[in-house]
């Protein structure tokens, strides 16, 4: 017997030779090889795959992976001021407790009868998001905020039977790339430049660009540059006057203090829920939401699962099931709306836990704390000679642009020195917005203490003096 056969793998119980033999005997096969007889010789891999030697024992595996991960510097050890789509907020312990539960973590696509808990938890997630957004329909999460926008745009195009999307205000260039790709080949994405003075939506340019061909006007509040649009109602009116849908992207963690977009006229609201209880995870905690009113024509355009509440055969019992399942690709393949599949359900459950823990008061408080701390950081930076902070005048939430052009230093130089001091400075915008010169976008959340902000500001001051 060769060495390989001596291994009984802990994850492969029937690799134990006597059981293997028993099973072969039962099916009357001479060997496992016989079960592959129908795969032609020409397609068979000759010899063994060239893979690294494994760490067969769990303890050796742990050492190996721990050593690799030890090469990463974490945002627990470093002071982090980067956001730009992935946000370091506090994660309450109960969030991790629930998403680590075997029953949720390892379940998949069970029926409402054996996976009742999953259906209820996701229905509740949608319901709490509905309260936050003041909208009646919220989907089971899609992949991420990018996908939520892209699908919202496709939904709007189907609703209006038009194929032009106007994207206004500052938007993450990666997101724009994803949306553009996703809308090929039938939808044209037109970007309306930002107003160079305010950094915000250029309303007159939007007025010029919109027409009866426009399916959707999309913008974000706050925008990629952290700015809050004050013309929400005007934009919605303009879109509606031209028969277009108004789609607004938001971060739900802002909605304890900011108005939900439905109030100022949005038809579809979308975004990412990573802020609601997901660790940053190198970008692995993203998940998207889409919300609309409860009109049939809107609901029928969702590609996603929508879990609804329903009576069962026992009076008083809550049951759950798929609402309007026949619209999905699971039911009718390519005739369905886009596609549905595995996306981000566990993060939806986690966001529900987060919202339940925070409650109305918690959401209002965290919004206020983020506003206070980010404004404090902007102000302290502004006191540094040559630094303009914030670079734009309008209201902002959590993120703001800092203009270093007057310092004679590039953002790259500043960030390199900050890094040496254990600080991840704001995201460099000089590649994405070359016309802004040396600007960076700083992100400040409730996790930053005054001392953290003061330390960063003192470091910047020293670097640019």
């Amino acid at each position: 017997m060769d060495k390989k056969k001596a291994v009984v793998y802990p994850y492969i119980p029937n690799s134990e030779p006597s059981i293997k033999q028993q099973m072969l005997d039962e099916i009357g096969a001479a060997s496992v090889e016989a079960l592959y007889a129908d795969i032609p010789e020409t397609l068979r891999l000759k010899g063994k795959m060239n893979l690294p030697e494994p760490f067969l024992s769990e303890s050796d595996l742990v050492r190996h992976v721990e050593e690799l991960l030890a090469q990463n510097a974490t945002c627990k050890d470093f002071l982090n001021f980067r956001g730009a789509g992935c946000y370091q907020h506090f994660v309450p312990a109960v969030c991790d407790e629930i998403n680590g539960r075997s029953e949720f973590l390892t379940a998949y696509a069970g029926e409402p009868y054996d996976d009742h808990g999953r259906f209820q938890a996701l229905f509740e997630y949608s319901s709490m998001m509905g309260e936050l957004l003041e909208m009646d329909v919220v989907n089971v999460p899609t992949y991420d905020g990018f996908q939520a926008v892209a699908t919202s745009i496709r939904m709007a195009c189907r609703l209006t039977d038009r194929n032009e999307a106007l994207v206004c205000g500052a938007i993450n260039p990666d997101k724009l790339s994803m949306i553009t790709n996703y809308c090929l080949p039938d939808i044209s994405i037109k970007q309306i430049d930002i107003d160079r003075m305010t950094g915000n939506i250029n309303f007159s340019a939007l007025e010029k660009a919109i027409s009866k061909k426009t399916a959707v006007v999309y913008y974000e509040n706050p925008s990629y540059l952290g700015l809050i649009t004050i013309q929400g109602a005007e934009i919605a009116k303009l879109a509606h006057r031209h028969g277009a849908e108004c789609v607004v992207g938001v971060d739900p963690i802002s909605l304890g203090v900011l108005s939900p977009p439905a109030v100022y006229g949005a038809d579809i609201v979308c975004g990412d829920i990573q802020s609601l209880g997901m660790h940053i995870q190198f970008g692995g905690g993203q998940a998207g939401f889409i919300a609309t009113c409860d009109e049939e024509k809107y609901l029928m355009e969702y590609p996603s699962r929508l879990f609804g509440i329903t009576p069962t055969s026992v009076p008083g019992e809550y049951g759950f099931g798929d609402v309007a399942y026949e619209r999905t690709s699971f039911a009718i393949r390519e005739q369905g709306k886009e596609w549905v599949g595995t996306a981000s359900a566990l993060w939806g459950i986690t966001a529900g836990v987060y919202l339940a823990l925070m409650g109305p008061q918690g959401l209002a408080e965290i919004g206020k704390v983020i506003l206070e701390k980010s404004h404090y950081a902007a102000k302290q930076l502004a006191a540094i000679k040559g630094v303009q902070s914030p670079a734009f005048d309008g209201p902002y939430f959590r993120e703001f642009v800092v203009d270093f052009n007057g310092t004679g230093k590039t953002v790259a130089e500043i960030n390199a020195t900050l890094l040496a001091q254990g600080i991840f400075g704001g995201k460099d915008l000089s590649q994405e917005y070359p016309e802004l010169g040396n600007c960076a976008i700083y992100c400040v959340t409730e996790l930053h203490r005054q001392a953290d902000i003061d330390r960063m500001v003192a470091a910047v001051k020293e670097i640019v003096k």
Binding site: Y9, Y11, I27, E66, A73, N181, G283, H375, P395
Partner: protein
């Protein structure tokens, strides 16, 4: 004492069925638990000096953009929130607790706990995607090395892990197909994608979103997709083929290389849907059959958990010729350090934010590193052995059959049919599934449309013991017996589950009744009473 228990549990050396009952907490909807004033967590307070510096912060937000009324979220103490969700978790089965061989095609294998622990370490959980490259060398090395592994497993030249799940990988490959034809100036002409009915619905649906028309092939009597139909379908309009093998029936199509050739001959590309590659790891590779692209689901073949429906992980692999189209960025090694390469002018751009689901990539990497080449092959061999053992045992139950390729071994799964039992008793496959819940087991029929009548798809993977497979079969045997002796028992199931059968589907299908949120439910309830 032990002897008594064994006597009770086993009869004639065969296990009796479990007296399972799922938790039934009658747990209220979370809003019903709300009590004004309760708090689940308190938020950190702003330092007084900070507050003094910024003043009345809410006044910085224009009146029109300020929230006027607090959101009507539940107000609960922390332990109450915990208890509520723990109860809901108990009302969910999860693969850790049940013998989850009833979700065929989904590869419900064991998700090692050690990988979960590793994925929660601060070295992955607390790193920001925009950190400087020199501060994330550990995760970049994992991504780079895992790519080398998947290249070896598939024979492909490059991989992207950006997609969050299988369908998004399929879409990635459909978008690459479009970009390839565009680069050759044939995008307008080549607008048809060919798939098969036993390939995942997303192979058809993602191709459609990417702008293609979809042609679907059905199986011939041997269970292989109909070759004559393929020949009739190909033309200068063919953009490509998107196909699974083995298909959902578990039948490996030995003529797959001919399928690939015929597509190549007319200038199309071939994509191999390997969401589930569990039966062929180390046995046969996508590139060796001529495929230009393939994808793996890390949450299926590579043992990362399914999370109630994500996040999973998708790995899209391509040939050398197509590598330039992959999403940006890809991870590179310059001989000194790992880095993210965005300078790829032919790339299709972004598919998802950042670089995919990093903790899932880490878990999949750890899983491969725990097994190596021999272990991966053992995974495939035992998955196939388990499946053929299950097939033998299933076919011993009167009323069940395994259509197509009768008498031939299957790969990792089988789509069974209960048609015979249905005709005899009126008990459908759906009914059997609901009754299986009474025994603490998942059971899945199949994707739509039901080409196999009264379908049921089982996939035992490599993870379950012989005794566990026997137990699953014993339950189905029992239910088939009940269908004959007491059909009402099956047709009114579940009885031991958290909830009972939903008889009336109007509240899920009628616009004036459906309710996707609690607020919509309360509104419609009020309307119906008015």
């Amino acid at each position: 004492m032990m002897e008594d228990i064994m006597k009770f549990r086993y009869t004639d050396g065969k296990p009796n069925l479990r007296r399972f009952h799922q938790a039934r907490w009658d747990e209220p909807i979370i809003f019903e638990l709300s009590q004004p004033g309760q708090r689940g967590v308190l938020v950190t307070e702003t330092e007084s000096e900070v507050r003094d510096t910024v003043g009345d912060i809410l006044s910085t937000i224009p009146e029109t953009m300020r929230r006027k009324q607090l959101p009507a979220l539940p107000e609960m103490s922390q332990a109450q929130v915990l208890r509520h969700y723990l109860r809901l978790s108990q009302e969910n089965l999860g693969a850790d607790l049940n013998v989850d061989i009833g979700q065929g095609t989904c590869t419900m294998k064991y998700n090692p706990k050690v990988n979960e622990q590793l994925a929660r370490l601060p070295g992955i959980a607390e790193i920001h995607p925009l950190q400087d490259e020199e501060t994330v060398q550990g995760i970049l090395e994992i991504m780079y090395q895992f790519e080398q592994m998947l290249k070896e497993i598939s024979g492909m030249a490059r991989f992207s892990f950006q997609s969050q799940a299988g369908s998004q990988s399929i879409y990635t490959c459909a978008a690459i197909m479009r970009a390839y034809h565009q680069a050759r100036g044939e995008a307008d002409q080549r607008d048809e994608v060919i798939t098969t009915i036993f390939s995942h619905p997303s192979d058809a649906a993602c191709a459609k979103v990417a702008g293609f028309k979809v042609i679907t092939l059905y199986p011939g009597s041997n269970g292989y997709p109909d070759f004559a139909a393929l020949k009739a379908a190909v033309s200068e309009r063919t953009a490509g083929l998107m196909i699974t093998n083995p298909e959902d029936t578990g039948i490996f199509n030995p003529y797959i290389a001919d399928f690939v050739n015929i597509i190549h001959e007319v200038g199309g590309l071939c994509f191999y849907d390997q969401a589930n590659a569990n039966g062929i790891l180390g046995i046969t590779r996508a590139r060796d059959a001529g495929f230009d692209m393939c994808h793996f689901n890390l949450h299926k073949t590579f043992a990362t958990p399914h999370g109630c429906g994500g996040p999973g992980g998708g790995a899209a692999g391509v040939s050398e010729e197509l590598a330039k189209f992959l999403p940006v960025p890809v991870v590179e090694w310059d001989g000194n350090k790992y880095y993210l390469d965005y300078n790829r002018p032919d790339s299709i751009g972004k598919i998802r934010s950042f670089y995919g689901v990093a903790p899932v990539i880490l878990k999949a990497y750890a899983w491969v590193m725990s097994l190596g080449a021999d272990g991966l092959r053992e995974v495939a061999e035992i998955a196939v052995l388990n499946n053929n053992y299950l097939l033998k045992k299933m076919l011993e139950i009167p009323g069940v059959s395994a259509p197509y390729a009768v008498g031939k071994p299957r790969k990792e799964q089988v789509r069974y049919s209960w048609q015979e039992l249905y005709e005899e008793t009126g008990v459908s496959s759906e009914d059997i599934g609901l009754r299986a819940a009474d025994f603490g087991l998942h059971y899945w029929t199949s994707h739509h449309p039901f080409v196999v009548p009264e379908p049921n798809t089982l996939e035992p993977t490599e993870s379950y013991t012989k005794a566990e497979i026997d137990e699953y079969v014993a339950v189905l045997r029992q239910i088939a017996e009940e269908a004959r002796t007491n059909p009402e028992l099956v047709k009114t199931a579940p009885h031991n589950s958290t909830v009972h059968r939903i008889d009336d589907h109007d509240p899920l299908d009628k616009p004036d009744q459906w309710a996707v949120t609690w607020r919509a439910y309360l509104r419609k309830l009020k309307q119906s009473k008015a």
